[in-house]
Symmetry: none
Subunit: 211 residues, 4 copies
DNA sequence: TATGAATGAGCCTTCATTCAT
DNA sequence: GATGAATGAAGGCTCATTCAT
């Protein structure tokens, strides 16, 4: 009967600990995005997980910590974490712009991404400004490359060009792609986004000729 | 031995005029926009007004009612109440668009408007969607008139055209023109807005020639 | 134009002061009897009078004082103040008992008396005990006289005899003759009272023969 | 340098057993019966239990619920719950009446029963009327049986007979057997009750002969 | 005398968190 | 790791009362 508890090898089984922790985060994301930090209560989160509220404290130090963990998941770079690949700088702008941003919009449409949007929104305006600034920063090298290669009007500052593309999408995200968006909202937003992207792609690149 | 003037009971002398009710609303706007409805406390509002908290209840039935009164002030038509006149439908689009929207942006830059922006933001996403929808509705007749007169590309649906103009502004408002925006933020936003408007005005109207 | 404000002579006109004061007491009686002292609010009383609440303080020093004034009206001798004449000691018991006590019950049935009953009731048990004790005290000489004249069984202590008569009436008053009693309640109570009085009158006096 | 044992947070050790819930109810009974529902404060109850006031809310949803739980304990059938057995219908009236009702009075004299009496009293008159009506209802079959067996005067309606017995006891209970009754009060009440019962038992049954 | 506006005290309740189990 | 019971802090609101008018 000498069965040694063989030392675990390879991937450990999804321990309950890990599982519960994640379920807490999921529940918290839902609740926080629906009610904001102050409006949410620890009880609501615990209830959604199906445990009593002190249970949360075995996994997180405080409500605050749960919230911050969530934020860390969402950003700092909201783009990357959303699974969107930045375009390689060699793709031509006119093609890349609609393609990439369509993928962004698609990503933003997922329930989880919408929940995060609401979450950040609720935090007040600073979070949003930062997020946009950050995205803008990430896109800058790509747009610069395009401009240098003459695929982008050079009578417009890069920053403006980026905002031209990103601004309406941000508006869309905030207005339509949030946690409580209906299917119709999402469809509407997608439509607007696609129309916008086509138009803006032409506008930004076509002008080369014009000039 | 400074003597603190211990707060008097009864009715205050007629000095502090500037109807307390209004002072409460102002204070509430500040506090709500900074902390959101749940994060704000009646005590904070009262303190900012310089009265004790039960005093608020002589003017409003509840915290909720203060909040709703504020919202009623902000909307339903956020445009009109912000002191922006809709363009007469006879002004040519290419001129009207930058002009009017610049005035909108100017209005949005005022502290009060920025506070309202934060307020609505904090309310969660539904409020925002509604607001935008509403603005869009108000602009529709104007844009339609332009299109009929051939001053606006007719290969774009009105709705998309409106979003083209409004979308980035909305994004701007939310990202930069909020209650805690710095002067730099505001300047930045103004710059982006102006660049955007010029570009978009050209884009939307130039097509007349193209066609 | 020398019209001296002629010094008032005779009965002063029912000044508003006096009138309001009484209306306050009436309103207070109603409210206190329905909700008890703690449950009643100054606002409710003022509202019933049709004035604002600080107005009450022109007539009474405090809520407490209104209440106490009311109590002073009700008793100490609840019997007398209710307009019931004690029987002259010469009336034969067998006739006097039903007659007098019927008149008591009638008096107790008036709305005002019922309101007072509720009032005292709400005050907690001490008020009641005192009231009963007091009534008992007032009746003692009359009953003693009867007993001395041989119109009342002398095998029963006066006190017991008094309780015999008064006890059920007290119960009746408390259970049925209160401020929110329906007409049916009052009728029922009256019926029980009359049956009781007849029976007890016989019992208390007839025994003379028996003995 | 006495060190006050500052109240510990979390769960208390399993010493203080005697289910807190019950201790709350006991404390509440005391406080409510002394001050009435509106006069009592949650703080007072908690203090009497020896816990902080939020602790109550782990056991009851609200002050109201505590109160109602208490009432449910008291009634609906105040007789039965007081541990008094109704007389079997076969016991002769003349013997049963004093016996049973003496036991009722004894029960009513216990501190707990007296507290309940005060409680119901404080609730306003309706509660009392209902209670009496209820007791009356429970006694009806017994009295009817007696009357049918000729042990009770049949020239009196059952209801009146019952009231004859119960009325003075009710009065006694209310006037003397309440939470703040002194020993003397209780003795006095007991004396009156016994005298009353003897007399009434004779009166009600003696008629058999008369008839 | 009456009132609008305000206040201190305090009430019921909720919340995040802690402790013993 | 989870839970029932408890706690300090604080929150929204009501109340009796007061003061200037």
């Amino acid at each position: 009967m000498t069965e040694f508890p063989e030392p675990r090898r390879g991937r450990p089984p999804l321990s309950d600990r890990r599982e519960t922790r994640d379920r807490i985060l999921d529940a918290a994301l839902e609740v926080f995005s629906e009610r904001g930090f102050d409006g949410a209560t620890v009880r609501q989160i615990a209830a959604k997980v199906g445990v009593s509220d002190p249970a949360l404290y075995a996994h997180f130090k405080s409500k605050q910590e749960i919230f911050e963990t969530l934020l860390k998941q969402a950003g700092p770079d909201l783009l990357a974490s959303s699974g969107v690949d930045l375009p390689s700088e060699t793709t031509p702008a006119e093609i890349a712009i609609p393609k990439i941003f369509k993928s962004i919009v698609a990503t933003w449409s997922t329930p989880r991404a919408r929940a995060f949007a609401s979450l950040v929104l609720r935090m007040g305006p600073d979070g949003l400004g930062d997020t946009l600034q950050n995205v803008s920063q990430q896109l800058r090298p790509v747009f610069s490359a395009w401009q240098e290669r003459g695929e982008l009007r050079d009578d417009i500052p890069v920053e403006v060009a980026i905002w031209q593309v990103i601004g309406p999408l941000a508006g869309l995200r905030i207005a339509y792609l949030h946690s409580s968006a209906s299917k119709a909202d999402i469809a509407h937003a997608t439509m607007l986004a696609e129309a916008h992207l086509e138009l803006i792609a032409t506008t930004l690149s076509q002008s080369r000729n014009t000039k």
